[in-house]
């Protein structure tokens, strides 16, 4: 049983799908250089304007339902990937009242967002994946396997994370937060931008007009270090090779890699090494986090949509904010490349050496 991406929508700092793709091709970063979030320091952040993340979730999921062939989600499994779940609202209440008294505990657990959507839309089953920055990418891994097993016909994958003090200050404490707009793969990059987004993708076992196939998934865990990838890139190489094997494709079949590309020193060096080893200069590679920032648990879902759009538009996203490429043995385009894009690999990597690679492809 094959898995088809049949409808999707997102909202991030750059806007909806159309606005995001316009920004990506125009290389216009949506990152704000914020001077208020951290005391005595600037921080590049991907900030959205919205009432609360639950309203945002409802808006995005409603759009996907409207665009789908389903009347409701009663026969659909929900898999939501999030790194911090409902922590944003909890922080806001706690910050204002300095007390837990008025916080609904149901709204700060990791699966708070899942619970909300399940009640709002009546999903048949639901679950949350929380593996930090690979959360929603791992939701795709699970979705593909469940469809192959014939367990579900319709699965909605959602990636969602709102900006939280805990995450911004946490990455700041780790000294991986850039004070400016991030510069993936640049020799002088100085860190990442924390951002927020909600993205939803309907995966079905039936092919529709304009379907994109989820062809391959790969996941590995190198358990090398809590916050750093193995410098020999073995974890990243393993997940990328597993995805190729699962898709029954060779590296030469992949035209574009949407990189994890956070712009941290460690990630980009290791990811570039892995891409160099598997693809050399045969595939184009860029990181659209230069536009969106790092949307953490939502990143896998956001970048899955970018990957599908690159295939549909036959247009490879360029690398924004790049002045001098660090690893010259990979093929990073500075301008959009017009060409037939048959297959795209999307990488997501996370703390604890948790690596996930997805391959999306045109339906033949």
């Amino acid at each position: 049983m094959k898995s088809y991406i049949n409808s999707y929508e997102l909202l991030c700092d750059a806007g909806d799908v159309k606005a995001l793709m316009d920004a990506i091709y125009a290389k216009e970063s949506a990152i704000t250089v914020d001077k208020t979030y951290i005391e005595d320091a600037t921080a590049g952040l991907g900030i959205m304007q919205y009432e609360d993340i639950y309203t945002l979730l409802k808006e995005v999921v409603s759009k996907v339902l409207k665009e789908s062939n389903l009347e409701d989600f009663h026969n659909t499994l929900l898999i939501l990937g999030s790194s911090v779940g409902g922590m944003q609202e909890c922080e806001e209440i706690f910050y204002a009242q300095k007390s837990y008294e008025n916080i609904d505990p149901n709204r700060y657990s990791m699966n708070a967002l899942t619970d909300y959507l399940e009640k709002e839309f009546g999903f048949y089953d639901s679950r949350a994946i929380s593996t930090a920055c690979t959360s929603s990418a791992n939701a795709f891994v699970l979705a593909k396997r469940l469809i192959e097993a014939g367990a579900y016909e319709n699965i909605l994958v959602v990636g969602a994370d709102g900006l939280c003090k805990s995450t911004v200050l946490g990455f700041y404490a780790l000294s991986v937060l850039s004070g400016d707009k991030c510069r993936p793969f640049d020799k002088n990059r100085d860190g990442m931008n924390v951002a927020e987004a909600v993205a939803a993708i309907l995966i079905q076992n039936q092919k529709k007009e304009n379907s994109i196939e989820l062809k391959g998934v790969g996941a590995s865990s190198d358990a090398y270090h809590m916050t750093n990838p193995n410098p020999d890139a073995s974890g990243a190489i393993s997940s990328m090779q597993d995805a190729l094997k699962d898709a029954n494709l060779n590296p030469s079949d992949v035209e574009y890699i949407n990189a994890h590309g956070t712009a941290t020193i460690a990630n980009d060096r290791v990811e570039a090494k892995a891409v160099e080893e598997i693809f050399g200069i045969d595939a184009f590679v860029s990181s659209t986090k230069a536009i969106t920032g790092h949307t953490l648990g939502a990143a896998g879902a956001v970048e899955a949509i970018v990957s599908c759009e690159a295939i549909k538009r036959s247009l490879i996203p360029p690398q924004a904010n790049l002045t001098e490429l660090e690893n010259k043995n990979i093929n990073v385009p500075l301008e959009p490349v017009k060409m037939r894009v048959k297959n795209v690999m999307s990488n997501s990597f996370a703390f604890g050496g948790n690596n996930t690679s997805l391959i999306f492809g045109e339906c033949i």
């Binding site: 300095k98 837990y100 657990s109 899942t114 048949y124 699970l142 805990s166 358990a223 809590m226 703390f351």
Partner: protein, 262 residues
């Protein structure tokens, strides 16, 4: 759908000083970790001494509510006491931090997933594992974990149980496979859920074990992943079992069969 259990470990809170036990008995470094991670690693250490773990095994951690304690702790630091966020508290906030320490303890480098659902937690994860193993042909380790936060009222509100319900911390492991060879038990499950009337037609209600959430029989203290504990208990007591989990008005069935009896 059927999975075979090769081995298991279970721990239900009995007042043991787990951090001390990990350090003294298992010589495991407990620094930079919190109670949730200690509990998960303790269960891993118990499993490791009973069976062989392959580096390629897939690892699945699952929990009803995750690590509530650490969320409360970080917020208290940052906002109530105006302290900076401590680096390892931030890291411990993330679900796969626990997976990382468990993977380290077991020597696993395969796929590593932290999955949470506050309903049918164990069955949902078994389904994830079953569908993955069909393709990978590997074995998997499942860790089910629930930690009672302090105060208990918080976790009761998250679990949606009344104040009178007794809740308890527990960690349970199973080494799972699609292959029957060497199995000590099998578990049968599917995605189908039933109404109470349909359930009564499907099983012998008198003989079945129920999650305390079901309000049918309350034989034990509650935690969301109790199904895995009951499966392990049935294996230990060398008996077959039908377990019913529930959420709102839906019921799901797990059947465990002790392969050594047959």
């Amino acid at each position: 759908m059927t999975l075979y259990i090769k081995n298991y470990s279970s721990y239900i809170d009995d007042g043991l000083d787990i951090k001390k036990e990990l350090k003294q008995r298992y010589k495991i470094d407990t620094r930079r970790q919190d109670r949730f991670i200690h509990l998960a690693v303790y269960g891993a250490a118990l499993l490791k001494q009973k069976c062989e773990i392959s580096a390629n095994d897939e690892l699945y951690l699952t929990s009803g509510v995750g690590n509530i304690d650490i969320v409360q702790k970080t917020n208290t630091y940052m906002f109530e006491e105006s302290e900076a966020l401590k680096l390892f508290d931030f890291i411990n906030l993330l679900g796969n931090t626990t997976s990382y320490y468990v993977a380290k303890t077991l020597g696993i480098t395969g796929k590593n997933i932290f999955q949470i659902s506050d309903n049918f937690t164990y069955i949902n994860t078994l389904l994830s594992i079953y569908s993955s193993l069909r393709e990978s042909k590997k074995d998997a380790i499942i860790c089910t974990i629930d930690l009672i936060s302090n105060p208990e009222q918080s976790i009761k509100r998250v679990l949606g149980v009344d104040e009178e319900t007794k809740v308890v911390s527990s960690v349970n492991y199973q080494k799972l496979s699609l292959k029957k060879e060497g199995a000590i038990a099998s578990i049968e499950f599917d995605i189908q859920s039933y109404s109470l009337d349909k359930l009564k037609e499907k099983i012998d209600m008198q003989k079945a074990f129920f999650s305390p959430r079901c309000s049918i029989k309350k034989d034990t203290d509650f935690f969301e992943t109790i199904a895995s504990y009951e499966v392990n208990r049935a294996i230990k007591e060398r008996r077959d079992m039908v377990f019913v989990d529930c959420f709102e008005d839906r019921y799901k069935i797990i059947k465990s069969k002790n392969e050594k009896l047959y």
